[in-house]
Amino acid sequence: MPPVLQGILTIIIGVGGCVGYFYASNLILDKVIFPAKGPKAGININRANKVRPWLFLFPAMFALGLYLAYPVVGSFWRSLFDRSGANFIGLGNYFDLFSESTFRTAVFNNLLWVLFVPAMATFLGLLVAQLTDRLSWGNIAKSLIFMPMAISFVGASLIWKFVYAANPDIGIINALRDFFGMQTLDPLQVQFWNNFFLMFILVWIQTGFAMVILSAALRGIPEETIEAAIIDGANAFQIFFQIKVPQIMGTIVVVWTTITILVLKVFDIVYTMTGGNFGTHILPSYMMTYMFRDDGRATAVAFVIMLLVLPVMIWNIRQARKEMR
């Protein structure tokens, strides 16, 4: 069967199955298990209402449990075994990893990414949000800066491969260097700094995200606070840094953490641009070098990523619980 037909069939089965499941399970609950008639009608209705939420939740919980919760445990368990999966070696994979220099480079680079990308994207997003706030063509400008969000990491990498190309007839950076009489070079082979050239691609993609959210937050600031500051003689910079930024600090933190989590997942850029060569590996791309070759190592790297995400996760859950109260 061609995949397209298979896809259409899956949509029909999936959607039909979902609706059918919810409809039928509710029907059975109300008519068969706890019928709302006879001597125990009242009790039955109450009982049915106690079960019903779980009917609604079951498919989602099942999928979440299987596809996200189980792997956390499953991956950790697998990482304690060797390549074949038959021999238990405890933390052997982790010790091996830490003695590898590429792994240490990847951890170091990943920390650079985690520091630089969220900071830069949030800063640029805030800058654009503030500058376009009262601009007549601000919405067009925002829309254009937001656009890279729609582009895949692979597509974005190709776009920037053009910019970074070593040939001055293709790469605009080397064309400029050539124009000013400098030697052409391949930016991706400049040790250490090449990491930043790769990071900038992600900054390019994520600035729009930060901008959209921060611009909404800036609009939500009460006018009176700003009016009062102006009357007190504050200048533009004072108003921005001392009145506006403190009021949207909460949103800035949310944007920052959201981008941080994204940074820890993105392997596409390094994979397409350098393949991890020239000292540019980060943990997600490093993990892919072991994928399909050594599952024990691969899951160990994945679990290290999980450990890096953990603080953000705990903070997020705390925040969510605070809001619910």
């Binding site: 999928a63 596809y67 792997p71 956390v72 053009f162």
Partner: protein, 384 residues
């Protein structure tokens, strides 16, 4: 009142200029790729895309035929025009152009200026004029193989669909496009329904442990995908799904659910309580309330999640690499570009550019037509 930028003329101009620079910086790389995808392959490697509206100095190689050789006053002569040679004919319509230099050796194609008389190595004298007409004189008869001339000529800018044709036919991007579509659409539709029911239960039904479940969803929101790859692939293999489209649909459904439940619940909680309670008083069941009231009212949130999930599944490389077989039959576009084209067509920028554009065209259309919902979804997910 807080018109900071408008306080004086100078500041306003500065703001405008800064924003223009930023927008250009953000836009130029994409424009460069877009322009390059339409350029002729030889022109791409001869001048930057920013020079594409201008003529390009290109180097051509002409093999002169000896069948037109004539004998004039005892001298063997070949006359012709470079622009009528088959090598140049397709580039220069109307057979007109300007020769800026010519040469007789491949290593120095621009050795001589037009009008110069040049001794050929195999004997004879060559002159090439700026208008392309050339003349070779030789006292002896020409052999079967004529001499080779190199000319540098300004060729007019040429834009073609050749790259797109090649990418879509020879490089199999058409198949990859359909595969991407096949992955993305079911993987977008199915999680929405599952998530909507769960979100309703978390938003409007009372049961013990609700708070914990919501916290769990928030926690799962940030679980790195990388963790899921190995255990799930072996799970899929052991239940017989293996690497297949079914496997990737299930995987995308699972990975998309936390965001879907979270977004939809946040939205549904904000729906007016009166409507739902009065429906309950009128005797509507939860199922009826959900289908008749909640779903239609939640349309904006459903739309914004659908856009997210569609963009995410369309653009995904990692999940496709792991959960789909690696053969060309089931390669999606991102895998095709990253694993195939970058390797085999590494230096062929025109092909790469058009492949990239084939893959980002649909997301861009979705983005620009449905930006409103996308923004709304982002705000619902983050600002709370």
């Amino acid at each position: 009142m807080d018109n900071i930028a408008g306080q004086n003329q100078g500041a306003r101009i500065a703001v405008n200029i800064t924003v223009i620079i930023l927008v250009l910086l953000w836009l130029l790389p994409t424009i460069g790729l877009f322009v390059s995808s339409f350029r002729d392959r030889d022109q791409i490697s001869n001048s930057g895309w920013w020079l594409s509206p201008f003529s390009v100095e290109q180097n051509f190689r002409i093999r002169v035929g000896t069948d037109t050789a004539r004998q004039i006053d005892g001298v063997h002569v070949i006359e012709g025009n470079a622009f009528r040679a088959p090598e140049l004919e397709q580039v220069f319509e109307g057979h007109e152009g300007q020769i800026s230099a010519f040469g007789t050796r491949a290593v120095a194609p621009d050795e001589f200026t037009p009008g110069e008389r040049v001794e050929l190595r195999q004997g004879g004298v060559l002159t090439v004029e700026a208008d392309g007409s050339f003349r070779i004189e030789n006292t002896e008869e020409f052999g079967a193989r004529g001499p080779t001339i190199y000319v540098m000529a300004l060729s007019p800018p040429r834009f073609t669909l050749f790259n797109y044709n090649t990418v879509l036919s020879a490089d199999g991007m058409d198949r990859a496009f359909i595969n991407t579509l096949t992955v993305a659409i079911p993987a977008t539709i199915i999680p929405i329904l599952i998530a909507a029911f769960a979100a309703y239960a978390l938003a409007w039904m009372d049961f013990p442990g609700r708070g914990l479940l919501i916290a769990a969803v928030v926690g799962l929101l940030v679980v790195p995908l990388q963790l899921a790859l190995v255990p799930l692939l072996s799970l899929h293999t052991s239940v017989g799904i293996g690497q297949s489209f079914l496997g990737i649909w299930l995987a995308h459904t699972g990975f998309g659910l936390p965001l879907a439940v979270y977004l939809l619940r946040n939205y549904m909680v904000g729906l007016p309580r009166d409507i739902i309670e009065s429906a309950k008083v009128d005797g509507a069941t939860d199922f009826q309330i959900f289908v008749r009231i909640i779903l239609p009212l939640s349309f904006p949130a459903l739309a914004s999640f659908a856009i997210f999930q569609f963009l995410w599944t369309w653009n995904d490389l990692l999940v496709a690499k792991v959960f789909l077989p690696s053969g060309t039959d089931s390669q999606v576009m991102t895998v095709k570009i990253a694993d195939d084209l970058l390797g085999s067509r590494g230096g062929d920028w025109g092909i790469l550019a058009s492949a990239a554009f084939v893959s980002i065209a649909v997301p861009l259309v979705v983005f620009f037509t449905m930006q409103r919902y996308l923004v709304r979804g982002l705000l619902a997910g983050s600002v709370k």
